[in-house]
Symmetry: C2
Subunit: 155 residues, 2 copies
DNA sequence: CTTAATCGTTGACTTTATCAAGAGTTTAAG
DNA sequence: CTTAAACTCTTGATAAAGTCAACGATTAAG
């Protein structure tokens, strides 16, 4: 009963019963692959990708992240933050300022135009999220957010 | 009230209140980044990575996937499947057989030793998943699985 | 039979990831 | 105070992953 002859079955349905399809690891990988592809398309008109958007978002959060903190929170290597900030700084969207308490660190803050762009970009990613979650009720969406953050930020 | 002076706050907690931390896109990205790093470590003794493991898993599923189907289900480009199967085939874990119905396609099936290795590998990924989900109850884990698959495989 | 489409494969190219080392700064030990 | 160790950003090298066009073999459509 592996395949029903005469029935046209698409690829995804064919493998929904596989053991892999039940693994959280795989489900998150596929979810984020589809999601970031969609988000990247929506951010393209703003000349942003999910990566640069994430940095811009934290830079505009008012939390004054250092590059080290950006790396840790975004699960990136510190050396990957450098070109990301370089690019945003080159466009006048963020600024590097030496942390007065610790001059080794550089605090990244959004400029006025950075915040303006972030406002638009946030709408784009919100739209992408809405598209992704069309199959879930509002309550389910909040449940998902809660469960995911308890995994992503578990002690 | 951005920072409480005198209090030592770790990086993650500092940014939990950020708008980004509430985005599903970001939460799935971070979850899968941490998860695949952990899974890769657990699979390393078996000379597998999450990628090769996923291919091996579907090859051993009894569903007889073609390379095209592997690519679609795993959200990869067909050209990325080639070296993955090459490597597994070179280790005698899977076989390429021409699809009798359509000789353009090649069906990937696990060999006996492939299935033996998959059994061990599956235990490793199950352990990784268990570690990731320590903060969630069994019921919550099933809820998460359901919600994620409805996003990952939405029509 | 001819044309168009599909599958696996190759190759070129860009992006992302990983890791070591260096310059400047801060912290801790003596 | 001074010296050594630890930390932050940066650079550079290298590997891995992602993207895309094109080709031979095969199948489907007209």
């Amino acid at each position: 009963m592996a395949t029903k002859p005469g029935t046209t079955m698409n690829t995804i349905d064919r493998f929904l019963s596989s053991e892999l399809a039940g693994e959280i690891e795989f489900l998150t990988a596929r979810t984020r692959s589809l999601g970031s592809a969609r988000a990247n398309k929506l951010l393209e008109p703003l000349d942003l990708k999910v990566r640069s958007y994430s940095v811009l978002s934290l830079a505009c959060s008012g939390l004054a992240p250092t590059q080290r903190e950006l790396a840790e929170f975004l699960s990136l290597d510190p050396s990957q933050i450098v070109p990301l900030v370089d690019q945003l700084e080159g466009r006048g969207l963020v600024e590097r300022t030496a942390d007065p308490n610790d001059r080794r660190s550089k605090v990244i803050t959004g400029t006025t135009s950075g915040e303006q762009l972030y406002t638009k970009a946030r709408k784009a990613t919100a739209e992408g999220e809405a598209v992704a979650m069309t199959n879930l009720s509002k309550a389910e969406q909040e449940t998902l957010r809660d469960l995911l953050s308890r995994i992503a930020f578990r002690d």
